[in-house]
């Protein structure tokens, strides 16, 4: 059995003074310090990043990390668009299940704000199909197609979507590492300009810089010594066709449903036992679809449920996106999946401070690549 023993993240946001290399360096030494470990105690590193190759002609970062740490251990780079972090974590747990008495560091980092919105939009679209790129579809555009279909099918409107951002900005206001720490009103969200109809600026996660890292171990001596522990109960990955036009349904992310069903089976717990979840709210519609596809809400009732704000901190038995989610905490693509798992770790070990969910025993992280071509569901327990 593997345990997370430590988590560290940089602040997410427009970090003008920081390069990708400096972000990586900060989280490696930050997470080691949190765990009171030395780099010699790390047996392998898994590194999640999507865009450095496209945006800054920067590849073979494994070797650059070796230079930073001055060690010759195996280092693997993982890319699965916005699910890079979740997949890196999954591979790290597989590495541990094949190797006993080992400790690995999983980190994700992304530098996005050095480029124009058009350059970043084009680079993100590399994770869409050729046909979708040729149609001029962007990521907001793909989720816009899903949102419009959902709203019409279940007779909701843009106000229903706005409650996702309202809730997540409130949570972000409690998180000092969040990109945005301001609350927003539903009215302000509805008045923000469109990015891709029916999705507006305040339905959308931002372009952020940032990095996050976790340490996972199966070394019994280290587990015994560690003050903070969260058990990895399940980490499951599923994939699906990248083309929206080839999907059976536009109001479901099938990869999420498959990964969730497998994860709950493996963890041996019920949906109702999850008290805290970090979901992939790259756009407001994505959190609603995720709540339904993960099995927390029935298909089609999400638009109504989100308006009740039952998943806001302190309101019910399940809090969703206490970090602020991608919407308010920020979305440095490769770092997101690691930050989500890190937030669940903080919640389970009781270190989430102002945004602490009381007596959390089980938590779930849900990370999606592209418009649903990859989904990772991770379940932790304490």
């Amino acid at each position: 059995m593997s345990y997370i023993i430590s988590f560290y993240q940089t602040k997410f946001g427009e970090l003008w003074e920081k390069s990708l290399t400096s972000l990586i360096k900060e989280v490696i030494f930050g997470v080691l310090k949190e765990a009171s470990l030395k780099i010699d105690q790390i047996n392998a590193i898994f590194f999640a990043n999507m865009m450095a190759g496209v945006l800054e002609n920067n590849l073979h970062i494994a070797s650059k990390i070796s230079e930073i740490i001055g060690k010759n251990i195996p280092i693997f780079r993982v890319e699965a668009a916005c699910a890079s972090g979740g997949v890196a974590f999954h591979l790290a747990t597989k590495y541990l299940s094949d190797n006993s008495k080992k400790t690995v560091l999983v980190l994700g980092a992304e530098k996005m704000t050095d480029y124009s919105p058009e350059e970043t939009t084009a680079a993100l679209a590399a994770a869409a199909s050729g046909e979708e790129q040729e149609a001029g579809l962007t990521f907001p555009g793909l989720y816009g197609l899903m949102a419009n279909f959902y709203l019409q099918k279940y007779h909701y409107n843009e106000e229903n979507l706005a409650y996702v951002s309202f809730k997540n900005h409130y949570h972000g206001s409690l998180n000092p590492k969040a990109h945005f720490q301001n609350k927003v009103t539903v009215e302000k969200i509805l008045k923000s300009p469109y990015v891709a109809y029916p999705l507006k600026v305040l339905d959308s996660s931002p372009i952020s810089d940032g990095a996050a890292a976790l340490i996972i171990t199966n070394d019994k001596k280290l587990i015994k010594k560690s003050k903070n522990l969260a058990k990895v109960l399940a980490s499951e990955v599923a994939t699906d066709t990248i083309n929206l036009s080839l999907r059976k349904s536009l109001d479901q992310i099938l990869a999420t449903k498959i990964a969730a069903d497998q994860a709950f089976k493996k963890a041996g717990i019920e949906r109702k036992q999850i008290q805290v979840a970090e979901l992939h709210d790259c756009f407001s519609i994505a959190e609603i679809l995720a709540m339904e596809d993960l099995g927390f809400w029935r298909k089609g009732e999400g638009g109504k449920k989100i308006k009740e704000l039952s998943t806001m901190l302190g309101r019910s038995s399940l809090t969703v996106n206490p970090s602020g989610g991608l919407k308010a905490a920020g979305h440095p693509v490769g770092a997101t999946g690691i930050k989500q798992i890190g937030e669940i770790f903080l919640q389970l070990v009781g270190q989430a401070k102002e945004r602490q969910v009381k007596n959390a025993r089980f938590g779930l992280a849900h990370n999606v690549g592209g418009s649903g071509g990859t989904a990772v569901v991770t379940i932790l327990g304490n």
């Binding site: 350059e119 679209a125 555009g141 816009g144 990015v195």
Partner: protein, 99 residues
């Protein structure tokens, strides 16, 4: 720049559906685009089910706002798909037109 051979590979498949008709399953209007599409923003993109139940995505052209609705009937037309400079091969592909 998109290589000419890549454009050719795409075009030889797209010609098979030219002129076919179908209906809009969902639509969006893109306000923030990649560079090659910036000169035409905002532009609508539709997901269409053609006869024979196969789905395709493409931009909607020659339209009125009232055509932006689920269920709208459309036809596949051939159009220039990207704004490229004078040295590059002009890429053509499918778009949709209301009928």
């Amino acid at each position: 720049m998109i290589s000419p051979v890549k454009i050719w590979r795409r075009q030889k498949e797209k010609r098979l559906i030219l002129g076919k008709t179908g209906k809009i399953i969902s639509w969006t209007k893109v306000y923030l685009s990649a560079k090659d599409f910036k000169n035409i923003t905002p532009y609508p993109v539709v997901l269409v089910e053609l006869e024979g139940k196969k789905n395709f995505v493409g931009q909607l052209v020659d339209y009125d706002e009232k055509n932006l609705k689920i269920g709208q009937k459309v036809k596949v037309v051939l159009r220039k798909t990207r704004n490229v400079n004078s040295e590059e091969v002009i890429p053509y592909g499918i778009k949709f037109k209301p009928i």
